[in-house]
């Protein structure tokens, strides 16, 4: 079926176009890689890899036992960790239902004197789906 020279030429053309487009896309993605990151980890933040002087997001686990609620207000304090480094976070407002100690979270805000002041908290749930009794 592929014997005809016209068809072979067309196949080569479409392969060449697909290759050129994928190559360009790959280059563009490499160039924009830093902007494709939705959040930075505490290690990246402390290593100075996150852009300074503007609002950014950090993500990781809410360290078990670190969550404190200030009595009579909506202010909370907790530490966010990637198992290597931790960053203290403070936030005033309502948190999503799945925001819990030992679970993933993403905070948007800025680092002020070593404390991450968050303006928004999002819960990051994992990819595991299990009925309650099977939960470890």
């Amino acid at each position: 079926m592929m014997k005809s020279p016209t068809r072979r030429r067309r196949l080569l053309w479409i392969a060449a176009i697909a290759l050129a487009v994928s190559g360009t896309a790959w280059g563009v993605i490499r160039a924009f890689n830093d902007n494709m990151v939705f959040f930075y980890t505490p290690s990246q933040l402390l290593a100075g890899e996150a852009p300074g002087g503007r609002s950014l997001r950090i993500g990781g686990m809410v360290e078990a036992g670190s969550l404190e609620r200030e009595a009579g207000t909506l202010t909370i304090r907790f530490r966010i960790t990637d198992q290597q480094h931790t960053v203290p976070v403070t936030y005033t407002g309502v948190t999503p239902d799945l925001f819990k100690e030992g679970k993933g979270a993403v905070a948007q805000g800025e680092l002020r004197n070593g404390v991450f002041v968050a303006s928004e908290i999002l819960a990051k749930h994992d990819e595991n789906y299990m009925p309650p009794k099977l939960k470890n």
Partner: protein
Amino acid sequence: MLTFLKQLGSPPRFFKVSGPLSRGLTIAAALLGIPGLWLALAGTPTDAQQGEVYRIIYLHVPAAWMSMFLYSVATGYAVLYWIWRSPVSAVMMRALLPTGAWMTLVALVTGSLWGKPTWGTYWVWDARLTSELMLLFIYLGLMALAHLVEDETKTDRALALFTVVGMVNIPLIYFSVVFWNTLHQGMSIGAPGAARMAPEMKIALLVCTFAVWFACAAIALARGRWLLAMREARSRWVREVPELATP
């Protein structure tokens, strides 16, 4: 098998086969969809972390998979058209686009409704969500191109080319949760390692996926069938089809 596939490339043969095939797929979709709906809403256990809200997965994941799968199939037809210039490939490439666009929209809307109670937001610009939104725009752009001029055959080549070009977005969507930090969680199915989903939930998800798959295939085949009859309206085989005879 190969001769059968080659025969399918002939317009009258495709018109004849696609009708019963589309009807059969519709019945299969209903036969799977009814138990699928029951499993999704009642037959599966509650999720330990998310409670009942996780049940939207049984619509969200099939729609998201279909949005990517239908685009890949359309790209396959675009390549076939580019090489063989067969009218059946051209109409099937066109027929898949609106169904794929609907599936993308369903995935985006259900994902957004799921995001609010779990993540705390309807929308974020993370790599997974943004690349899926790009897919919707690619579908809409291709559909606009498909209807640009009245004589459809004139845009076939351009449409095939741009469909192939848009294919770069598909691996981007699929692997976005692996390549970058995203708010969207990683893969539950298809990822290496331990089971991430209880078996009864996985089975229910597969039943729902096959139901949506068959429904999409039935719709695309029916649309492709009539697009073909319209395109070839002046040829002899169309005039010989009793259903299409004009009184």
